[in-house]
Symmetry: C2
Subunit: 461 residues, 2 copies
């Protein structure tokens, strides 16, 4: 490929998960035993990602013990605590964590993310999720997960309240005038008295407006509700896409929906996931991928798959395809887009259950790509140039080694091709993504045509 320095740079996020995204990564000799709660391990990962000049790192989350703790490291640290610990050992990289709108109160969550933004000097991001699954619901007094539609309605109102809380102090509220004895200007701190369907919150927040105004808003659901939600609120979208065509269609769809909400399509960055398995040769990469798949214990994986698909595990035979009578997406209240992606992948490629388990073991529905550093860079460039992505969510199968290989071998190729930054030029997470600092809904005069809650499209001077 030739160097084309005229292209706008792409964005790279490192999705950190314990000792790797492949469920059997922990069984490799190199993997630390207690990766999920080993702060030194995570600090090492954050430093590697920052060495690669990546835009951000990301931590997924659900308020429940996910899956079988026998199968893979299910023990983990609470993400806002972990982000703060990673902020302490880094200077530039953005710090994004998932948090649930179904099982948090806006006041508590808004405070935590505002605090992370203060502590990190403007590097916080919030991946907004509604949290599917009865297991999580049963940690919060419910028998089952709230209906999909209700979860999204609550999520929209949650974001509305959270942005009001973040905007309840004007940027110039704190004057700390020692002479007159006035610390903050009373007319620049506002009680807004939100009264909605799900929340009643008076405000103001007890944290003044943070360096970024508020954290970068990220979203990852790909159902119809999820895409509409992303189009309205999200500034970055993580998505699982198996084929280039589907990825192009998804990006176009979400950006068009954003335009429909009066937003600039450049204000929403689409980041498909990729699980790179990197070798000195293509054969070596495939051998590592195969070794990882062999380390999956199929009985664990079948149990998980049967739960996701809502079928009896006895109907899943390792060396046969999926049974024909799997319920449709409409019938489930869980993670709809993940469900559909798995079924479509299995049907399209006519995978046996064993093969499907291997594919899912690597990236849980995200695209696995095994090859040399050059080949990984090629596929990134190809998807980028085809309009499938504004950047990528890098999900190394094994950590730290997979992230080290990506940073030390793939990133230099992308830099050489003029596709990726060689130094950080911004200071905040939004600056890395080329996004403006949001205006203040409660205090700034905002162009009504900007839409998007009147937030995030107008730069504060």
């Amino acid at each position: 490929m030739t160097r084309r320095p005229d292209r706008k740079p792409l964005h790279l996020n490192a999705f950190l998960m314990s000792v790797g995204h492949h469920e059997a990564a922990w069984r490799l000799p190199e993997s630390p035993a207690s990766g999920g709660t080993d702060i030194a391990h995570y600090q090492n990962l954050a430093r590697i990602a920052e060495r690669g000049r990546l835009d951000s790192l990301f931590l997924a989350d659900s308020p429940v013990l996910m899956g079988d703790p026998g199968r893979r490291p299910a023990n983990k640290l609470e993400p806002t605590v972990l982000l703060t610990a990673l902020a302490a050992v880094t200077e530039h990289i953005g710090l994004i964590a998932t948090a649930s709108t179904s099982y948090n109160e806006p006041y508590n969550l808004a405070r935590r993310f505002a605090s992370v933004d203060h502590v990190s000097g403007g590097r916080a991001g919030w991946n907004i999720v509604t949290t599917a699954g009865a297991d999580a619901a049963r940690n919060f007094g419910l028998d089952d997960t709230p209906l999909h539609r209700d979860r999204y309605l609550r999520a929209a109102e949650f974001v509305d309240v959270a942005t009001k809380l973040w905007d309840s102090w004007a940027d110039d509220a704190v004057i700390a005038d020692k002479e007159s004895g006035v610390h903050a200007r009373a007319d620049r701190v506002r009680r807004f008295e939100h009264r909605g369907r799900y929340f009643r919150v008076d405000g103001p927040l007890n944290v003044q407006r943070s360096p970024q105004g508020y954290p970068l808003l990220v979203q990852a659901g790909s159902s119809e509700d999820g895409k509409d939600f992303a189009a309205r609120y999200a500034e970055a979208v993580f998505t699982a896409q198996q084929t280039l065509e589907e990825a192009v269609a998804f990006s176009k769809d979400v950006k068009q929906r954003a335009v429909g909400f009066g937003r600039d399509p450049e204000g929403i960055k689409i980041l498909p996931g990729i699980v790179p398995v990197i070798g000195d040769t293509e054969e070596q990469a495939r051998a590592l991928d195969d070794e990882l798949d062999r380390l999956i214990r199929p009985e664990y994986a079948v149990r998980q798959l049967s739960k996701t698909l809502r079928v009896d595990p006895a109907t899943l035979e390792l060396d046969r395809e999926l049974p024909a009578d799997i319920p449709g997406e409409d019938e489930i209240e869980g993670a709809k887009s993940r469900f559909t992606l798995i079924v479509e992948l299995a049907r399209r490629e006519r995978l046996t259950v064993r093969q499907l388990i291997g594919r899912l073991g690597g990236g849980r529905g995200h695209r696995t790509f095994a090859g040399t550093a050059e080949q990984v860079a090629d596929t990134i460039e190809h998807w980028y140039d085809a309009g499938a992505a504004d950047g990528f969510n890098i999900m190394p199968a094994v950590l730290p080694s997979g992230l080290e290989l990506f940073v030390d071998r793939v990133v230099p190729i992308l830099q050489e091709r003029g596709l990726f930054r060689t130094e950080y030029t911004g200071r905040t997470l939004r600056e890395h993504y080329g996004l403006p600092r949001p205006a203040n809904r409660l205090f700034d005069t905002v162009d009504a045509a900007a839409g998007h809650l009147g937030i995030a499209l107008t730069e504060v001077s």
Copy 2:
């Protein structure tokens, strides 16, 4: 005083609050303008406290903008985020933060504190509060604060659920057996299915048991309900006591109640607050104290006092005593013990409103002591020897300078007298306080006679 190396050492906690406990501290020329959210300022304080070999530092909290943001720095960071940031720059000192049982869910809070305990290597502590005040309630969908009694019932069940969550992984659950492919032993991770009056939580937590088992449990309410709660659950108690006699009686009372719950009275440490104002001479200390009081804007303070006492601000005249018709403690649903302490202080010393404001401006009901380092050490030793305290909650009027003076001038005197450690000998917060690591309720065989939920009194081997 003579050296008596035979005495058991006392304990010292640094209560960190923005730029100082005196409400006008921020107006001194030396104070940083944005102390409440200035992470470098807090990191400096934590390092000073650790240099003094203090047992712990402490951050108060309420999920509401407290008081008038014009009057004093009301902007602050969320405490579990701030604790984590302070863990990153310290190695030994314990890290205690307040969190509300009325406005959190046990699963979320248990995760965060377990995570702080992991990240800090066993230094986390939780100050359990029920949160009084309608303003806080109105950030969480309520019109007014729940009844005092209900708040304490919920708090007790909250602690019950939280300890079950922390104990839902046995200490030996994670084996990470790469050969067999079993990460955690299924029979050592337990779903406990709590069904109570306030909470239904299935568990298990998604964080394995932390270095301390779980965070040190701290409590600070001094009402009848508060003292019973402390006697049942707390391992350390922060308390406001104006006189030696009251402090002795309080300590005796709480420890006797603890014995009534089947606990060892040595398992609960009583730490009265003291606001030391330290000068080279007594006159210099008093001059600083007076200067701070002069910097209080009385109109702000009268408004706050009228709110606390539930009286019309017009009835509070600066140069007269409190009006006679103040409602009794029984009639309020707020912070009962703080209310009574203020009224009794004013009546006992026949203080005018102006004088009362000065006394409260320093320590909000805690005891202010202005004097030389020697005099501060003397009063600490005197109270300690009289059985009024197992240690002290140090609340410097001005930060960092007041903490620096305490650490550099008072601590060496206490060390010289054999009253305080010269080096850290333990690694965890409980080790600093001489308290055992709690047994696991769900997995360890516990002596039933130990009481205290069957927790915290039996050391795990």
